[in-house]
Point group: D2
Chain length 429, copies 4
């Protein structure tokens, strides 16, 4: 039911140019595959300023290769359209002016068809460049791969948000056969870990985002980590116990957000005909009480942990545990496209560290000691966002399997709920 | 170059059932024709809360017939889809709950194709009903005709606004041959009218909106009315004289709006390569300095009049003049889809009273003495909006020719600019 | 219990210079008297952007005389303080830049004491000028009188709003003896009036605001006017009948305002210990069910009229009736400082046309035909506000008795509630 | 010119009850002394939601003792006024409902005089309790001392903000003699520190805030710290180099804030007559280019560090250095009430670690490992704010000398500017 991640180095080490080109097409093709079945209108609409249209994801990822790889080598004449840099630059100030983010959904032109042509055009340029071999560009190409995969996840996340605004509750994909989903989760167990020095972060030649390094040693205290994520059923206990209305469990900003936005359950949940249901990429579905809770904010995760007398893990604690375990789980390629109950025969082993839901940590997204952003415009990729956001770890059911790794740091504002985010408890021992 | 309106009573007097049915199909077909050439995405996007998607206009006008004519006769089983009343009710509280107005642009489903199927379905129901003859419904059917035509105009107005947000500045329709457009406007002349009693408003059996009556007598003072609308060239004088930055010409609310929204020219104007251009339904075009100024708010119209030492006409003054003149002008059927220079051989006759631009008046939109809204939900059509808005008269280049009439009262908030609205000066004598 | 207004012409005709000077001091002294008993803090705070601090009213009215009367004659050296024009100009663009309106409450300096010194200083200058006799300034001085009196009313209105924000519910003045207040209102009766020509507005040499003219003839239709204002008890019926939650009674903008601001009763009402009470200038008091309802918006007044099957009067209808009746009522000088039950032995005569509550009319505040603002900065007094506001007539329990008259047009935005405003019903006959 | 802090344990160890009582009165008396000279109006106004009126600070600190110390012992009858808990509770949800924070400035009643009576009343209760000896309350009393001192600083910070909104630019206190202020700062020097284990945070019996512990060991890397804070003159270089308009120096949220709020210099600076001046507690004063820059946000501090190629210190780095140095500096008791140039004969020693300006660090305000909030309502003191804020260290020119210590963690949102906050640079070595 969940897949084991294939060797990530396939795409990261460019020793074999042919394989590299193949990897390029595989990743690009997966993006196209995710967009298949969406109409021009589906691909155009933007449901909120945080989300982007599918068409924009398709075009922006192409622009990334065009802007940072193709144009510097082939010259500006290679560009598909003179205005596309303005339209599809996301946030790179060093590149220049750009279209207003909240107005992305008003770009009914170019059409989806033209955007797909744009993708083909860029793929042609990149095939030429990768075939010619430009090892000096490997870092940027690798970044382009990772970037494309991030947007694959965002594409799915944003489509769910869009469809959830529609009273018709459309389905993005048919549900996989029910039989494949475990019916219950492993019982909760606290796994204990000793304290001491731990080297956090990435080092070595493989590609990672700049924010995953430098590797550096930290001192951990002994801690316990839950063997699985908090389930919807457990979350319902929090709800029925008045968790959303009891300020003492909450951070001050969190309770203010909950009040202002009227939070009473995870995002997308609704109570109809005496049943809790939720919007998913398969349309409205009953909440699976054994599956990890999803679409909650950091504030909710933190309040839950406080309510139950535990806490969220530090990212260093999470990484220490995750380093020891195989990179497998309910990731995008499993086809579930929603969290499923986390099972594990051995209760002494953690379940679901990777996949299902991104796990909110107690760690603010700040630079590791000695962090330096990359040179050039791509230095804006992560560094300028290192304020006010919280780190999430482990990937989700919509994360590409060969995109995630133990050192991967995702980050979102603490009040955001549309990501596939849940929580795993920790405590001091 | 401009057309004479055919007999409005064609559609209003239901003496001939076959002609009535034909009229139904003519009006409905015209809406379809206006939407032709727009993509699913074009038809879905909503550029601001004031505007609606094309798809929504197409569906809402169909819902109007379904809700107010078909369902009461044929029963709820005749409805195309159980949720469409929720999706496509605009503002009729008496009908029930409805989709949030600012979220109309997120309805990527139903698709444009499904909405066109919905239109066909309703047309089938209406054909049946009109063929059967239900004279008791004539008032509602006539209202449905007028309603459909209002939305034809709004569809065009809203598409222009949407396309104007797109940096690619798309064109909705190819421009008509340039030769058909007069190159200059008639010289400005003040036409003088005596005072006395005048019967304002509609009476008689023909269809009008409820707000056009009751007819009632008012006392007018002698006044002069400009023989044509203010032109873009004249407006440019106001701009270069600092009109937008001089508070003494402005109403207090108007100047505050101008400052808050950064008004420095009519909406859609932009200065590029030393030329003033403007977005039109034919894409970006040079401003035609001889044509009536368009896409201005009431506040701007009022400030211009103050600046030049004149005033806006009362709606009673306007109607008094318009009653005496043929209902012709640059209306939707001319195909210009933008204001053109107003010509007139006889300077003692007004030019362009109908068509080109809606003319802001000095009259707030309030009920005429003795006004009673219609019974039932359609009583919400106009009555509940009789506050805070200003009356406009005469129709525009996107108004259907057989929709406008001398007693027609259009109304918008004084700060709205996306309508095809301009001004004609008046003064006391 | 209510006083008859003394001859208004005392202050308006400047034939007797000594009386004129006396009038000046009487009016100025009344402002001081109203501020007596307020602390420096009371006089400094600003409870919302619409309201102004007492200290500001005291200073601004002095600035008015300094700016428009004293400085043009005596030169700028006569000014009390170089910065006070910046601090205490309200909205006269022609005079220059000014302090931000919503920040008036942050001016803890100058102190109340200094502001009173400023008043004395200006009174000295004005005594000198009025003693010297400058008939050419009479219009401006008369305007200064009327202006001062408007601010007397606003001072009381704004203090009530301020005190109503304070959980301690302070009292501005002790209540007058209860015995003086009638215990019930005259029964509701419809007074009928014929239609025809009526000359609306002021003409003649007496002072009025510019917006009260020019006098002009209008055609009225026969109408009926209620013999008294709507009472609190009647309003409670509207509330208990769900009036605040039923959209069909409301203008669309009105219902939106009621929902957005959570209106469920008149402003200042609160339900405590099973009793409806309300904040007054005498602190919290039980709602007097026989007294006119007060502190309602135009939207609420209109909704009530719609609910009960009547309408609001036009300002022309109101003025036609008021012209025939003595100018007496529960005005500021009665000392009640709140509306009291309207009594009348003769049910064929209207009660309470003047005083108690300003009566919302159905008439937007627009210029009368032929209106021209005064020359100079004082032309901004009324003219630039002739948009979006509704006319109120008749004065209230906090209006100076010699300030009100039948032609007086007060005006406020339709959603404002902090004025002493109520309603009197009208209907067609 | 700067004072050495007296023994903090005076107030923290309650071995001598008489000294404890004396300490109580000394601290309380200092608050009164700071408020002396402010008018009732000065003490009432609230210049923004983040700030509180002087009167509120005076009352809230008294309420703290009444609520948490006196009432539990003496019963609710000891309370001065039944409504004051509602009015003067700041944010303790466990205590109950409270007055709306942004409306604190509307409480013109109780008067300043009544609030001072309230203070006396509470002082009477506390004298009785402290004289009786209640060692079990020492923790709460000590917290009350620290709380009172925090509000002393806030009182001054908030008064400056209030006076800075006043175009008259009032002065809170006369300037101290100019001769006492050094005319230039020590030259910039980088002090180098080795890496390794460091025990961060407080342990031991002395009072600290809960957030200063538990003490725990962290690993530091070698680093350099500037020997003094960044000066106004250095900041001017940043400004003239376009620092405020160059996004690449800024965090993304920071640049957005700078644009949205129009930041072009530190808060309170203004350029007039060719000179940069700034508002201070002594009114408008020329900017002292040798003194530390003050009234900047974390975002600005971070952008400056980025611009100059350095970074902000971690709070652990700062504490490591500060632990070794005497607790002296330009604190509140020096009477300067503004930052002054930092001098130091020995360039190998840091200057101004304590006092002058709070120094923004790169550390988000998060709990130390093992942190547990105190029991009861006072557990809300710090814990619920551990999100989204940044740590500042070292105290400022308005911090009481016996309030600050090396482990002290102050915290504010990264966009706040009204605190006496500046920066000291750090870098990796």
């Amino acid at each position: 039911m969940s897949d084991t991640r294939t060797d990530a180095s396939t795409f990261n080490i460019a020793s074999d140019r042919a394989a590299y080109l193949e990897a390029y097409h595989a990743i690009r093709g997966q993006t196209d595959a995710l967009a298949a079945g969406l109409s021009d209108a589906d691909a155009t609409a933007q449901s909120m300023a945080d989300a982007s249209p599918t068409k924009w994801h398709l075009a922006h990822t192409s622009w990334f290769f065009e802007e940072f790889v193709a144009a510097p080598i082939l010259g500006d004449d290679c560009r598909f359209h003179a205005d596309f840099s303005f339209l599809f630059n996301s946030y790179y100030d060093a590149v220049g002016a750009r279209h207003s983010r909240p107005k992305r959904g008003l770009l009914t032109r170019p059409s989806l068809e033209t955007v797909l042509d744009y993708r083909s055009h860029v793929d042609g340029l990149m095939s030429e460049i990768l075939a010619a071999g430009h090892p000096e560009l490997d870092d940027l190409v690798n970044l382009g791969f990772a970037h494309e995969q991030q947007h694959q996840e965002l594409l799915l996340t944003d489509i769910l948000h869009l469809f959830a605004q529609n009273p018709l509750r459309p389905s993005y994909r048919a549900s996989p056969p029910q039989g494949e989903t475990p019916s219950k989760a492993v019982a909760l167990n606290w796994l204990q870990y000793g304290g001491g020095e731990f080297t956090l972060g990435h080092s070595g030649p493989d590609f990672t985002f700049d924010c995953e390094g430098p590797a550096h040693t930290v001192l951990l205290r002994p801690f316990a980590l839950a063997n699985r994520a908090v389930t919807n059923g457990e979350w319902l206990n929090f709800m029925t116990d008045g968790g959303y209305r009891t300020p003492r469990h909450w951070l001050s900003n969190g309770f203010a957000a909950a009040q202002a936005e009227g939070w009473e359950s995870p995002l997308y949940w609704f109570y109809e005909d005496h049943v809790w249901s939720t919007m998913t990429l398969h349309g409205a579905q009953p909440v699976n009480m054994a599956a990890p809770v999803c679409h909650i904010s950091f504030y909710e995760a933190d309040a839950y942990a406080s309510w139950i007398g535990a806490r969220l893990p530090l990212e260093s604690e999470w990484e220490r545990v995750a380093r020891r375990h195989p990179l497998q789980g309910n990731l995008q390629s499993s086809g579930h496209l929603r969290p499923i109950p986390q099972t594990q025969n051995d209760m002494a082993q953690p379940a679901g560290l990777f996949g299902d839901v991104w796990e909110w940590t107690a760690s603010p997204f700040v630079p590791y000691p000695g962090f330096k952003p990359a040179n050039g415009a791509v230095g804006e990729y992560n560094g300028k966002f290192m304020n006010g956001q919280m780190v999430l770890r482990g990937g989700s059911c919509v994360t590409p399997a060969n995109h995630i790794r133990p050192t991967y740091r995702n980050f979102f504002d603490p009040d955001k709920r549309w990501q596939y985010a849940g929580l795993r408890l920790a405590k001091d021992i």
